[in-house]
Structure formats: C-alpha cells, structure tokens
Amino acid sequence: MNTLVKSVIDFIVETYNSYSKSMQIFFIFLAVNIFLFMVFAIQILFWGLGYTDMNNIFAMGVWIIGDLGLVSLGGGAFFTGFFLYMLRVDKLEPIINSTVLIGFMCYLFTFVFLVFDIGQPLRAWFGYAYPNWGTHLMPQSMLTEVVFCLTFYFCVLCVELIPVVLRHKIIDAIPAFHYIGHYLHRLMWIMAAAGTFLSFFHQGSLGGGMWDVLYGKPGWFRAHHQFFFMAIVAATAGGTSFMTLCPYIAGKVMKKEVAPMETFQTLAKISGAMFIFYTTFRIYDVYTMAAKYVPSFDRNYLDIWGGYYGIWMLVFEFAACFTAIAMLNIKKFRDQEKFMVIGISSGVAAIIMSKLYVVLHGFSIPNFPWKSFAAYNPTIQEWFITTGGLCCMIAIYMIMAKWFRLFPHLDKHEHHAE
C-alpha cells in the first residue's frame, strides 16, 4: 500500500516538475481553490446557507448565475453535436470530444451548484419523486422541467463521453472495450438527436421560462415563449463561441495544434450566425419589455434599472453582441486569428452578461415604492465554492487533454514525430 501511495506521489511530483514555472503557479492556484472549495462546501452543507449573502430579498446569487451560465455555454455541446452528426459538418470532428467533455462538466457542475443552492440537499430527490406536473405531459413548474431535462441530457452526455474514455491507449487495446467504443461512436447521431431535443427544453426553461412566468415581478415577466426561445438561441450562439474558445486556449497552453484552424473558424462562423439571431431577438425582447410588459406593472422600463446594476449591463451586453457579430461574420476578420478570438470572447462575455442581467438586475428591483434597489455581495464561501467548481472543471479538462484522446488531431502529429 505504502509503495502505491509513494509511486502516486512520485508521479504527481514528476509531472508537476515537468512543467514551466508559470504553469506550476497556475497548478498551485487551482489546488488552493479546490481545497477551499472543499472546506467551504462542508461549512455550507452542514451549517446552512446563513453563511451566504443571499437573503429573503436577494434569494438567489452567484450559484444560480453559475448554473445559468454553465448550462447556456455548455449547451454548445448539443448544438455542435447537432451540426456534426445530424447536418454532417465533418470539419467539426476534431473538437467534438472536447465539446462533449465541456458539456458534461458544465452540466455536472450545474448539479453541484444546485445542491449547494437548495436549502435541503438531502431532499433533492423530491424533485423526481413529487414533481409538479400540470395537465397532460406539461410540467406545471418550470423547475420540474429543468430537473428532468437536465438529468436526461446529463445521461446522454455521459453516454457520449464513454467513447472518449474508451479510446485511451491502454483501454482501447482491450478488444471488448475497443468494439464498445467503436459501436457507441457510430450510434452518436441518436444521442445527438436526443440531446438536441432535451436541450431545447431545459435551455428554454432554465434560461428563460423559469423567469418569465413570474408574473408578479417586473424585471422578469414577459410572454412565456419569448424568453424561452431566446434562451435557446442564446445557448446556441454563446455555447458555440465557448466551445471554440476552450480548445483554442488549450492549444495555446499546450503549444500544440489541437485542431486545424479551419475547425475553429467553422464553429466560429456558426456562432456568428447565431449571434445575429440572438441580437435581433434580444432587441425585440428589450422593445417589448419597455413598451408592453414593464408598463403593465405601472412602471417605467428605465426606472427598474438602478442601484449597482444599472443600464450599463444592457449596453455592455449589446456591445459584446455586436462585436461578436462583426468579428465572426465578416470573413476578413474571422480569418485572422486575433479577431476571431476577440469575436468568440465577446460572444462568451455577452452570454455571461445576459445571465448576470437576469439574476442581478431581476433581484435588485424594489418590490415596494418606499424601498430602494437591493444589492448583493457574495461572501467568501460563495466565491470559493464557485471558483473552486470552475477550477475543478479546468483540472478535469487538463487531465483529459493530457492523458486521453481529447484532441484526435494531435495523434497525427505525434505519429509523424515518432
């Protein structure tokens, strides 16, 4: 036993030493974050949500922003899968494994954050046991729809991830695993179709439908299917940008060509096209909010922006959207790596801002005329659980990139090198 522990430690130290100084600092940063994540996780799970800055007015905070962001950006997995397996855009093949892994982690950590967020984590299964169904097959509560669709889609992602794991050099050498991996891979189009179907529902319900049904709240209420579909379009636009950005950064860090430039550009182009839809939809959304929905509360659209979360959020979001549209749709820009990266980064920023808008702006609006705008300042526990979760994701991604066949494109070069 001792020798096993010793060899594991030796292996970690050896791997750590094989990296440059800056990477070593980054590893320490990851480790500290993950450690504090575990410490504060125990505190929150055992002693409750009193340690957060959430309260009866600002009832949800950074974790729900994380959930909305992760699901929306992770939603790029279903859209990329849809293009590759259903529309046969084969140029996307080199990054599909990375896409599936990111999707898997985004959904996994959505569940993790949800467990922290609910007051009674041990009752989480009530969501399946006592769902709030309405008439027919339609769930009454949007959260019921979220719970079921997230779970099913997470299962789909697990199945999609299996071939990536089975393609590991050692595992692939075992004939049984090799064939399972091979046939699962051939069945991927079914998974992609199921994933697309399920994704449509939970993207819409978590990102939009969950908020727009709140008819007592002027920051959120609007026509149900308006915000619902806008959230789906947001996921297709921002998710694809995110799925381009992650492997791109991985390639820069690994100093290798993880996928051909053409692959990045193809996905960036899809993202750019979706951003045109999203921005148009969003302009319409702002217009209807200002002209129709907020006035139905006898309030003025501009008056519900205030406190820390002013109209600047909207300006920022649109600026990022227009940058993404320009950089990703104009061929001259997209073909230049620098501009393409600005484009996809802006795309990701736009979607993150739109989620910050939903939560921070929505909660800040006073419910009574004699009250002022509410503010929220996450505590150290909330910060480290969030950043620790993200660091776990980065660590898993790095491990998979190093030891698994995350980027099949690399094989070609390695074989050449050998």
């Binding site: 309260n55 009866n56 949800m60 009752r123 006898d298 419910n367 005329p369």
Partner: protein, 276 residues
C-alpha cells in the same frame, strides 16, 4: 374511504374565502400582531435578530414615511402590517397565486378556502416561490431555527417546528381553524362551514385594526370593509384603472389579486402604493 367523507353534500361544500382588512388609520405600530404571530407559529427567536433581510418573520411591520427628507412637523409616518396576501390571480374561481405553480415539488398549494398553504417537510428550499412573490411574504430559514431560553417551553403543539433550509410563510393561522373544526366535530357538527375563526394577529391587535373573515359572505365585516372607499390593496395599481383598461391588462397577464385589504383616509398613504 372514510364514511364521513362520503357525506360531502352541497351544504358542506367549502363556501369560505378567507380575507383580511387592516385599518392603517387605527394601527399604532405597537407590534403586538407581529409578536403574537411569532409566538403562535413557533417562529425561531435568535439572540440577535437585527439581520432583517435574513429574519424569519411572517408578519413584517413596515414603517413608511411620506417623505424621507421631510422635517418636523411635516413628517408623517404609517405602519403597514404585511403578511402573505393570499393572492388569487386574475380568476378567483381558479386561483393561481404567483408562488404556487412554480414550486417543483408541490410544497405549496392553494386550498379551496383560498388560503395558500406551505408544507415545510416537503420543501426542498429552492426558494423559487420566494423569488416569485411580489410581496416579500416568504421567509427562508437561513440558519437552523432556534428557540432560545424559556421560549422552548412555550412552543405551540399545533404547529410543527420548522427546519433549516426551508421556506415558511403565513397561512392565516389555518391551524386555528382546524382546531375550531375539530372542536365542532367533537360536538357532532360536521358542516365544514359551521365554524369561523380569527388568526392570532387579528385577535391580538389592541386597537382592532385587523379584521378577519369570509369575503364570500356579503354581510361579514371584512367583506364590507373591502368595499369601503378607503380600501386599497398593497401596490396593486390595476385596481384604479377603468374597466376597459383593466380587461386589456388582465388579458396580458395575471395580477396577484390579494385577499388582504388595507384602509386609510390619508391620501399620501394611498399615493405611496404607486411607483412614481
């Protein structure tokens, strides 16, 4: 099926629709209602309860002034006791409070007497209902509920003690009604509409500012007060609109339509209900 249940005939079908009317001109802001509510409903009592946004209270006594910058003698103050407003949505015959349809586990529901219930042993603490409530009437147990010192001895056995991480709220003291009904059944009266009751806040108010009763009964005091010209509802501006406009707006969306009415003859108090 229980034989008693098979006797649900037309006359013992639920006729009640509980509501409340609070006369702000009578309220002195003494806080008795809020204390009585906390005692009756086993609300947790912490040594330091000054963290208001995290406090667990069903009844909040909101202090509202005419103008924050006003100086004596121009300052006017009113206290607004605010609890769950037992919303109905646009159609009272098919109540749809903002908070009920959103709950993923049916831990909150609206009864046939119009009271919105809350079952904290079912609640998973997602706080979605709290987000949906426009009246900030729901409280979350951010900390493990405590009853310091001798307060433990005064716990009410009709109300289950709440647990950490769940949402709680005012249910118009529906346990008192149940207690009254049980008493009636013991005397052989099985008509569910035979008994009336009074929630603790109403019975404890020294000035009689809070009136409780059946809104479906046109002769009840609460019914009459709800139609008084001094009556209004909290931040419910649709009430002031002309009929046509009301119809148009109600097509666009549901309105909370609360069953708690407030009364005041002071114009500034009524003006306060509107966002400028």
């Amino acid at each position: 099926m229980n034989t008693n249940e098979t006797h649900v005939t037309q006359e013992n079908k639920m006729k009640r629709r509980w509501g409340m009317a609070i006369d702000l001109d009578k309220c002195t802001g003494c806080g008795q209602c809020s204390i009585a509510c906390a005692q009756e409903n086993n609300l947790p009592i912490f040594e330091d309860d000054s963290d208001q946004p995290k406090r667990v209270a069903y009844l909040e006594l909101m202090k509202v002034t005419n103008d924050r910058d006003a100086k004596y003698p121009n300052v006017e103050v009113t206290f607004i006791p605010k609890m769950c407003q037992q919303c109905e949505g646009n159609d009272p015959s098919n109540p749809k409070p903002p908070c009920v349809s959103v709950c993923p586990v049916v831990a909150t529901d609206v009864g046939d007497d119009g009271v919105v219930s809350q079952v904290w042993s079912r609640c998973i603490g997602c706080r979605y209902c709290q987000v949906s409530c426009p009246y900030e009437a729901r409280a979350f147990n951010w900390w493990k509920p405590r009853h310091e010192g001798s307060f433990k001895k005064s716990l009410n056995s009709d109300v289950s003690v709440m647990s950490r991480g769940t949402i709680v709220k005012c249910t118009f003291c529906s346990h008192i009604w149940k207690r009254e009904r049980d008493k009636a059944v013991a005397q052989g009266i099985t008509d569910i509409n035979a008994v009336l009751y009074t929630p603790t806040c109403a019975s404890s108010c020294p000035t009689g500012a809070i009136v409780f009763g059946d809104l479906n009964d046109p002769d009840s005091e609460v019914s009459k007060l709800s139609k008084d010209k001094r009556a209004f509802r909290l931040v419910h501006t649709i009430d002031e609109k002309p009929e046509d406009e009301k119809k148009r707006l109600m097509k666009l969306k549901d309105y909370p339509n609360p069953k708690v009415y407030y009364l005041s003859s002071r114009q500034w108090v009524r003006d306060m209900m509107r966002f400028k």
